[in-house]
């Protein structure tokens, strides 16, 4: 069966520090991969999605970047964190079919102080 791992679960970082969140998927190949951010009262905002290695689409301009160095690995990064980067970050994957749902990791709670 497929599983998705996301770490760390919680993270407290000072403003201006770098960020690296990692997500890996097991049990499937060539998935679509996603990073979402959830801010209080604002629902889920799609940040990046990837349909293959090295292929990243950005949904909103921001202080973050994403990379997909391997088929089942998706990394969210920042060179210098801002206070506004605080939130709950969720990684997800889906199959490449028209009617598929997304499967989510457990999330990372990022607090920038």
């Amino acid at each position: 069966s497929q599983t998705i791992h996301q770490w760390p679960a919680t993270l407290v970082q000072p403003v201006g520090s770098p960020l690296s969140l990692e997500c890996t998927v097991e049990g499937t190949s060539n998935p679509n991969l996603y990073w979402y951010r959830q801010a209080a009262g604002r629902g889920l905002q799609l940040l990046f999605y990837s349909v293959g290695i090295g292929q990243i689409s950005s949904e909103v301009p921001q202080n973050l970047s994403a990379s997909r160095p391997q088929d089942r690995q998706f990394i969210l990064s920042s060179k210098k964190l801002l206070l506004s980067d605080s939130g709950f970050y969720l990684c997800a994957w889906s199959l490449k079919t028209m009617n598929t749902e997304a499967f989510f990791g457990q999330g990372t709670r990022l607090t920038v102080v």
């Binding site: 679509n32 629902g43 028209m98």
Partner: protein, 112 residues
């Protein structure tokens, strides 16, 4: 572009009462619709999905939703809620195979 509207940010209800969480979508093409549930500090779990066929979709934990194309709605219902149903519920729409667009969520608060 497709979008999802969840008008109710919070819905308080007593245990064993029925509940309906509203979701409206906008899209000019055929859509696939989903409801997810999120418990505190956890990821999202799929409750149910509408792909095609019967407009009444049954999901896990006794939830069901009805797809109404003319009203562009996909409301979630449960005839009798439990305390354990307290969570945040997200409606989502998928067009194509690349991404899901989510609503802003509805917090269901079940009290004894």
């Amino acid at each position: 572009a497709q979008s999802v509207t969840q008008l109710d940010s919070q819905v308080p209800v007593f245990e064993e009462a029925p509940v309906e969480l509203r979701c409206n979508y906008s899209s000019s093409v055929s859509v696939y619709l989903f409801w997810y549930v999120q418990y505190p500090n956890q990821g999202l779990q799929l409750l149910l999905k509408y792909l095609s066929g019967s407009t009444l979709v049954k999901g896990i934990n006794g939830f069901e939703a009805e797809f109404n194309k003319s009203q562009t709605s996909f409301h979630l219902r449960k005839p009798s809620v439990h305390i354990s149903d307290t969570a945040e519920y997200f409606c989502a729409v998928s067009v194509g195979f690349q991404k899901l667009v989510f609503g802003t969520g509805t917090r269901l608060l079940v009290s004894p």
